[in-house]
Symmetry: C2
Subunit: 357 residues, 2 copies
Amino acid sequence: MIDPAAFAALLCDWCLEVQPGQQVLIATTTLAEPLLDALHRAVLERQGWPLLRMTPPGLAADFYHHAGPAQLDGYPPLELTEVESIDAWLRVEAPANTRALAGMDPALITRAAKARAPIQEARLALRWCGTQWPTPALAQQAGMGEPEYAAFLSRALFLDQPDPVAGWRELSRRQAGLVERLDRAREIRIEAEGTDLRLRVEGRTWINSDGRHNMPSGEVFTGPVEDSAEGTIRFTVPSSPRGVEVQGVELTFAGGQVVDAQAERGQEYLEAALATDAGARRLGELGIGTNPGIDRPTGSILLDEKIAGTVHLALGRSYPETGGENVSALHWDLICDLRSGGRLTVDGQPLDPFGVQ
Amino acid sequence: MIDPAAFAALLCDWCLEVQPGQQVLIATTTLAEPLLDALHRAVLERQGWPLLRMTPPGLAADFYHHAGPAQLDGYPPLELTEVESIDAWLRVEAPANTRALAGMDPALITRAAKARAPIQEARLALRWCGTQWPTPALAQQAGMGEPEYAAFLSRALFLDQPDPVAGWRELSRRQAGLVERLDRAREIRIEAEGTDLRLRVEGRTWINSDGRHNMPSGEVFTGPVEDSAEGTIRFTVPSSPRGVEVQGVELTFAGGQVVDAQAERGQEYLEAALATDAGARRLGELGIGTNPGIDRPTGSILLDEKIAGTVHLALGRSYPETGGENVSALHWDLICDLRSGGRLTVDGQPLDPFGVQ
């Protein structure tokens, strides 16, 4: 089991750095009650105000079943006021069913997400963090028993270490070295079985993702130059965007754009995603996973993209802080495992993300 | 079992009259999840915005154990902003332990309540309602098994009737007749074994409490003239203010003020309550219970004070809408059962609350 008090301390002291007087909003489901109790105490002990937003796990699906047009195309004014009033926002994923939205019309989900964009944007301007509390559904998705999954997540969070905050500080330091090396890079080449892709990254900013926004994290990422992708990449880690299973995606790029797209499973979803808008056929992100505690895919993108020995590319929107300029309603992370003979080359020199000190 | 959908419909359509576009905040514990799910749907179906505030049941006690001075003497600014932004506020009592605060220093509770008074006042200016979802703790407090308690509460809520809203409309109509009669009253005399108390009520307003603010309700009440109480009253229904058990309270009044106070159990609490402030020794409320579905005490003041055939008096603060002028930090409802030979007399004429049409 994960110790809720230790997890809460990590979230308060490393991810959010809760200060006296701060209003900390915590959104999760009833399944994360042990962590929520611990967070309530931890925020109070740091003289902050815990503001709890716990919902039954089936609520999101229920919304789509019962909402009318006014609800789908709007949001409660209080929700925006709330984001404008708080100091930090923590989202704890704790689903009862990771496929709860699989049968929902994707257009409905996109419509509601579009209407709620102002809330989402305001949240990202705050101190925020997204994390996960282990549930039977997450263990099932990972193909594990519950104790096994909790132990796995504990390693991913560095909660198996005597001082988790020190563990994250050390990862941050090592990633800073990696970022320093990559800031001088012009071209990245990704090679693996079925994969040979070149991307340009000169002038772009690499971000050290060390657990402040994602817990666990462990990646460095940037936005590649929009017209630079040339070649083919095979994404060997399955992906479940919005609960739809997509496997064995292979993309070929020319002049930065997808010119061929095949999926062993989920071809229809893949084609629909690429047709979202013009930016959906270009890359918005190149990330390199570095978390040594995450050693296998579990079906959670929060975890999978951080696997040490993988790279991920996102179709669609880039993060402005990277200097990336791709605009799209899509941001779909796809992961390529390099651990069986793959490699990364930076301007002709092999890069071992762990070798960089 | 109580049907959550029927209960939610009653709360939306009778108690709160939810309108399209309204923001309806619902505060409860995780134990009321079935009702919360139903309320979420019901508010959406009425084109309103359900704003859910569900907390673990142990949270209130936890607050006192972990809060520092800044928390005890303040409140999160968002909480007041929230009340100022919403249209309706629903509180669903659903405790895991009705005595959770019994060991807490009452001074701490009073201190936090005082600091949070602006929030409480702002809530009362809204459309608001307080209700209850049956939990094992509430059944235990009532000395019942859980199915028995749920059936009892169902009758109290008129959810055993084919059209609960029609049931409340009919109760409202009957109480309006009672209020019409009482509006002409000058003196009320309460008689029962060990009880003979006279109160003046001329010039005061009687309130028809028909389930808009309390669900269940079923009472009419006013604020008696502050210096009018003369005589003795024995409160035969036990009371558990803040989780402290108090039984067999007997009060003697002269010139509106308590001149003698005895309790079979809880004498210390009684004396401390009377010493709260000057207004604590005077009466702030006289209420007459009329709910035919509530036929026995259960230890919940929400229900007990509505028992058809009882009257209740509150020591302390009166409700301004009654014309009552007593000011106090205390408002403690005490109940006298008239069903075994007791009676109410209005200006010398016996009053049968049910006989008034």
